[in-house]
Symmetry: C2
Subunit: 224 residues, 2 copies
DNA sequence: ACATATTTAGACCGGCGGTCTAAATATGTC
DNA sequence: GACATATTTAGACCGCCGGTCTAAATATGT
């Protein structure tokens, strides 16, 4: 475990240019093949790195992947620069959330590189394991957003926060995947309409249940 | 491609007992490691199969995986023996659907083997590719269920069927994953309550939008 | 008994991620 | 400049991987 920290420190202390050059090449490979199917040897050859050099700066393949994703997340954060939303009403919550997601969607639509890298993460359990800490931070942010919605009454509180978050997140990823797959065959206006309806779907699934529909029942808040 | 068919035929013509013995061992490995991280060599050693033998009956590792999953699906189908639902009203649709899913949930809860095998499929893109045809059939069934709901007016028709299906399916998998992870720490009554509320969430996300909430708008049916 | 077709054994291949040792290079000290 | 020490680099090597291939063994038909 100390090996890991040492290697990370060494990488951080490297001249920016060199580190960037290495990560660029690694990123290209990971983007094309994901974590497991990417060839470390191929990366090293392309980057003109010896094995000894590589393992001096990266504890293993997963750490190299982590470095690539960490950089990508920084870049994305810079493009988005999201501040925590501060809704004053339920309508306001949905308004601000829609704006936030619209922003993210827009940025990723104009940045295939980051979008593809992001999708890759959720295609492999190993990738998620390799960047568990980064993922944790992201999911926490997502949870906080949901939590804020619960506090203001925009979001149902009768299900465990983690469950609600993960279901919504999974559905969001699938929607993203669908758009990535079908974007070309869609007219821009259709795409916009569908996007809007997908958002309404999220609002519907996350809204407090009013006990009015065929299968709902009175819902007490869920407590751990 | 002909190689593939030949090998499949040979496998089918094998004595049931022998084929079952092989698949049992392979299944154990796949269940523990998934497709990519499973070791074919390890399976062959454990099953006392030579390389030549193996590749005489399986075109490749993926085909062996496919054979395992195909058998598991047959077994599951036998345990569930679902007939297409025939709802007479919206309430009836949700009623029958709830019953169907309750049935599936119950079967999988009492059959960790099949449940884990199923989860493994969605953890690896390679696994999904290896059994693409089987998966197609399953997703088609799922789509038909949604489609029936649309026809009777229980399910929104303002989004492409595939998108709606995939989002719902993804959310369902995530819910399953959450339950698998948290089942032990949950009181049975809580589990039942949550299960019920999750179902209400699905009903809410799939129900036709009435244009009444904060972010929805009038929705025209989506046509390809 | 013999020819033919099916089935099995396992050596072998290139490539993988990762380890290890020795050489090269930088750094500090007199 | 010389020398000792610490950092950095090179690349041979390891065990294992999925997959190929050839030759031997075995079954089948006549």
């Amino acid at each position: 475990m100390d090996q890991r920290r040492q290697a990370r420190v060494r990488l951080r202390q490297l001249p920016d240019q060199q580190r960037a050059a290495w990560l660029d090449i690694a990123e290209e490979e990971f983007r094309a093949f994901g974590l497991e199917r990417a060839s470390l040897n191929r990366i090293l050859t392309r980057a003109a790195l010896s094995k000894g050099q590589a393992y001096y700066y990266f504890a293993d393949k997963g750490e190299l992947y982590r470095a690539v994703i960490e950089r990508a997340i920084s870049e994305l954060a810079g493009l988005i620069n999201a501040s925590p939303i501060q809704p004053e009403s339920v309508a306001d919550y949905w308004q601000q959330t829609a704006t936030l997601f619209g922003h993210v969607t827009e940025v990723l639509k104009q940045n295939d590189r980051l979008a593809e890298l992001g999708r890759g993460i959720y295609r492999e359990a190993a990738a998620q394991a390799a960047i568990a800490d980064l993922l944790d931070a992201l999911h926490t942010q997502f949870e906080r957003l949901i939590e804020t919605g619960q506090q203001i009454g925009a979001i149902r509180s009768d299900l465990p926060l983690t469950l609600l978050t993960e279901m919504a997140f999974a559905a969001a990823r699938e929607a993203d995947r669908w758009f990535a797959l079908n974007a070309q065959t869609l007219h821009p206006q259709d795409a916009r309409a569908i996007n809007h309806r997908v958002f309404s779907l999220f609002a519907a699934m996350l809204a407090p249940s009013d006990g009015g529909d065929a299968s709902a029942q009175a819902s007490k808040p869920y407590k751990e």
